[in-house]
Amino acid sequence: MPPRSAPKPSKKRSNPDSVTSSATGPVPSASNKKKSSKEVDGTDKLFDKYANASSGVIDPEGIEKLCSSLEVPHTDIRILMLAWRMKAERQGYFTKAEWRIALEALKVDTIGKLKKALPELEKEVREPLKFADFYAYAFQYCLTEEKQKFLDIKTICQLLDMVLGSTFRAQVDYFIDYLKIQKDYKVINMDQWRGFYRFCNEISFPDMTNYNLELAWPSILDDFFEWLREKQA
């Protein structure tokens, strides 16, 4: 089968320079466009506090510092949520433009305010429609290479735990067990990733009585289902 000739535009491309209205965040009103220089200043100053001087972006080290300032663990979901808010393109890095987007949307300009805004952010992200988008974003965020489409099992397990651990504990635990034991799949792609979220939402657990093998669930979930059935027997 010949590969598709036209390269598809990368889904994760966003326009960092334009303040576009996103379907996932509050529409910045016209009044917000004209930020008072003081506020912009504050955001920028905060940015500079954590950014790497030479590269001009917040790098992994800076993020770690940010985390300790915010008093959240480095691997906390809320940092990921923040990244989602700013539509951060590159894992482990925040650009100035991205930083601005997030902080403007959250209406904060100091670290204290940001810390206080985190629970609200979390609440927003957990809204069903937004969470689906966030969930997909989480996968994409971890793709580091240019044309990469898969994530390795280890990363998936960590990501699942972080993103779905609090809401679908049982499913996540069993699925992670399965992923570690099975030998057929070495990587997971976006379709399978999304499929698992739908699984958690639609299929009653742990009985899974409404799961139908003849539908279009990704094969990995069919295998998971059969593995779990066997275990339960």
Binding site: M1, P3, M190, D191, A216, P218
Partner: protein, 734 residues
């Protein structure tokens, strides 16, 4: 007689009555003299005639019509009925029959007398005819009174006849005629007052018989009895029942005797369908077909029993072979496939002969074979076994074209039953390659072509294109070789070189060591051919398969020179010893650039096998990398030419074929999915899968899981996407 006087009605009636009494008397006497006195006849006729044509108020036509009615009524009620009612059983029937005959005569005579009325008065007034009036009277006065009893007696007689007694058929026929006539032009009376009861009685009669016979009789015996019963019932209809009864009667008999017990009958343990097939009881099976064929859906259980039996036989064959394989003996493709072919022919005969070529049975046979023809035996799929069978068949010399054609026809039929057609094609191709390349002296080109042509006819041109290409290649290679030979002025390297050029697309892929260091003479050969080939073709690259070549080498041994027929690899190794007497393993492998596995095989064949061309130190039975080899100048044999065979490399050919076919299937599934989605644009998962299976079914039976995985792969490659609203529906991504 000329009368001038008017006939008074009373007067006329007196005359009439006298005549009627005379008639009755004559009938009663039942002499052969059933003739009325001509004088009296005339008188009656004329009297009536005159009474009718008299002028008003003396035209008595109407009154005469009514009188006629009274006469027949009276006769029926006062004469006929009492006589009949007095009797019972068969006597009842006899009396009825007799009285009925009399009545008919009576009415006939009367119709002569009243002829004038019939011809003029009745049509004028549009009244019922005289006959109609008479029949109605009989019906109302006699028939309605006695029909129930008569019916009962008749049915009792019929049952008696069924039990073997003789009955008076004419009598019954005549009585039933009464029923028919009483319908006044329709068959209703017969149906309601007789036929209905007859059918009921028949039903319970044969139900009883069926339950008894099914216990007591074997299947063939039962069928014979059934056939006999049907025959007798049909005969009954011809002799005394109304023809319209036949199909209803037959239907009931069939239902009670054949349909309701079908399962029990066909599955009878020692004599049922299965046993009959096993014991080759052609007559009984033909009878079974004859009996069940006219019954709607009647043949289905028979075809089913046939199918089950054939499948059982086939499964037994397969099991036998599987057990043998499990015990370690080699799976003999010829034997097993031969047996399956024999089985097919045997049961095809039944289909054509006993079962009259009926489609149900063709279908049953096909389905039965499909069941067991797809089972694996000892690790080999049926596709592989069939390919092996073809290989042996085509390597056999001395078979006539007709014999080959017959067997090939059977092979192609079996191919139709195998679901993994593509697997067969691959195996066949591999074997064909080996035959063409290594056994070319055994190859019969006509036979090969026959096989391929017949396969092509059933499976299509694309299926056989590669095979055909291979056969053509051999032909073309021969001609090309002639041209090459003709172009040479001298032998390159002093060697007679023959090259066969294969088209990569048609032939299986072969691994080859392209870096083999050939001796100088062979290099000259290769170059010579290369340049010739370059002149004849345009920009084609030759890849030399030294692994598949043969070489004839003269070994100059001390006792006498012997011609050795070797593989190219073997020849190349030996040529090294032209320059030196002894060589170590390391030296050989370095000089030649052969792979370790290949070299070990070669050295084994030359030093440890049947012919010791080389001496090995140490003289063990295996090759180690520290061995040293020496030319065995003392080697000799009684023959002038010997073939030093080399075992083929132990690649698991079967595994490779299965892998190749799996890969091809993956591409086929991908292409199929894309094709379907491109035309449908939007499709739910289950429909996509089922369409895919259907489209590919000609070639192979796709694994549902594999289809699913291919779909997911195509999603990742952006050919399809899941619908945003329902993730079990796919959209085509343009």
């Amino acid at each position: 007689m000329y009368r001038e006087t008017i006939i008074d009605f009373e007067q006329g009636c007196k005359c009439l009555e006298a005549g009627v009494s005379e008639l009755k008397r004559i009938l009663e006497e039942e002499t052969s003299e059933t003739r009325i006195d001509p004088k009296q006849y005339l008188e009656l006729y004329t009297t009536i005639y005159n009474m009718c044509i008299q002028k008003h108020p003396h035209d008595h036509s109407q009154r005469l019509y009514n009188k006629y009615h009274d006469i027949v009524e009276h006769y029926a009620k006062k004469t006929v009925l009492p006589c009949v009612q007095q009797k019972h059983d068969e006597y009842l029937l006899r009396e009825l029959s007799r009285r009925w005959d009399h009545y008919k005569v009576f009415v006939n005579w009367l119709s002569h007398f009243f002829n004038y009325l019939e011809r003029f008065f009745i049509p004028q007034r549009n009244y019922p005819s005289l006959l109609e009036v008479a029949m109605k009277s009989f019906r109302d006065r006699v028939y309605l009174e006695v029909q129930v009893n008569a019916k009962d007696v008749v049915i009792a007689l019929i049952d008696k006849e069924r039990e073997g007694a003789q009955i008076d058929r004419e009598l019954v026929k005549n009585v039933l005629n009464v029923f028919v006539q009483s319908g006044m032009g329709t068959i209703e009376k017969y149906k309601e007052d007789f036929e209905m009861f007859l059918l009921e009685d028949t039903e319970s009669y044969y139900a009883r018989k069926a339950s008894r016979w099914i216990q007591e009789c074997s299947c063939p015996e039962y069928m014979i009895k059934s056939e006999e019963s049907l025959r007798k019932e049909k005969e009954r209809v011809i002799h005394y029942l109304h023809s319209s009864t036949e199909c209803k009667l037959v239907e009931i008999v069939e239902k009670e005797l054949l349909v309701s017990v079908a399962k029990h009958l066909l599955e009878k343990e020692h004599s049922g369908c299965s046993a009959l097939l096993r014991d080759d009881k052609v007559d009984d099976l033909s009878r079974m077909y004859r009996l069940y064929h006219p019954i709607p859906k009647g043949l289905e259980p028979v075809a089913d029993a046939f199918r089950i039996h054939v499948a059982r036989e086939g499964n037994a064959l397969i099991k036998q072979a599987q057990d043998a394989a499990a015990n370690g003996s080699l799976v003999e493709a010829q034997v097993l496939v031969g047996k399956i072919i024999d089985l097919h022919e045997k049961y095809m005969v039944y289909v054509l002969d006993c079962f009259k070529n009926h489609t149900f049975f063709h279908k049953a046979l096909k389905e039965a074979f499909k069941v067991f023809c797809n089972k694996k035996v000892g690790g080999s799929s049926s596709a592989e076994l069939l390919a092996n069978f073809c290989d042996s068949l085509l390597k056999k010399s001395g078979k006539s074209d007709e014999a080959i054609e017959a067997t090939v026809d059977n092979v192609v039929k079996l191919l139709d039953y195998i679901s993994d057609n593509d697997l067969f094609a691959e195996f066949y191709r591999k074997k064909l390659a080996r035959r063409l390349l290594f056994d070319h002296h055994k190859v019969n080109k006509e036979h090969e072509t026959i096989m391929i042509t017949k396969i092509k006819r059933q499976q299509g041109g694309q299926y056989t294109s590669k095979m055909e290409g291979m056969v053509t290649d051999m032909q073309l290679a021969k001609e090309f070789q002639k041209g090459f030979k003709g172009s040479l002025t001298a032998k390159p390297g002093g060697i007679d070189l023959a090259v066969t050029v294969l088209n990569t697309g048609f032939w299986p892929s072969y691994k080859t060591s392209t870096d083999l260091n050939l001796p100088r003479e062979m290099v000259e050969c290769v170059e010579a051919f290369k340049s010739y080939y370059g002149t004849k073709t345009n920009q084609r690259k030759l890849r030399w398969l030294y692994s598949h070549g043969t070489c004839h080498v003269i070994g100059s041994f001390d006792p006498k020179p012997i011609e050795l027929v070797l593989s190219t690899y073997q020849a190349v190794v030996l040529c090294l010893f032209n320059n030196t007497e002894r060589l170590t393993y390391q030296e050989i492998i370095e000089q030649l650039n052969l792979s370790h596995e290949d070299l070990v095989r070669v050295l084994l064949s030359l030093s440890c096998a049947k012919y010791r061309i080389l001496n090995k130190e140490p003289a063990s039975k295996s090759i180690s990398t520290t061995d040293v080899f020496e030319f065995n100048s003392k080697f000799t044999s009684t023959m002038r030419r010997i073939k030093v065979s080399i075992p083929p490399p132990p690649i698991d050919e079967r595994k490779k074929v299965v892998e190749d076919v799996d890969q091809d299937r993956r591409y086929a599934i991908d292409a199929c999915i894309v094709r379907i989605m491109k035309s449908r644009k939007v499709l739910p998962h289950q429909q996509l899968v089922s369409q895919c299976v259907e489209q590919l079914s000609r070639m192979f039976k796709p694994d549902i899981k594999m289809i699913k995985k291919r779909i997911e792969d195509l999603i990742t490659r952006d050919y399809l996407e899941r619908d945003a609203k329902n993730h079990h529906i796919f959209n085509y991504v343009a």
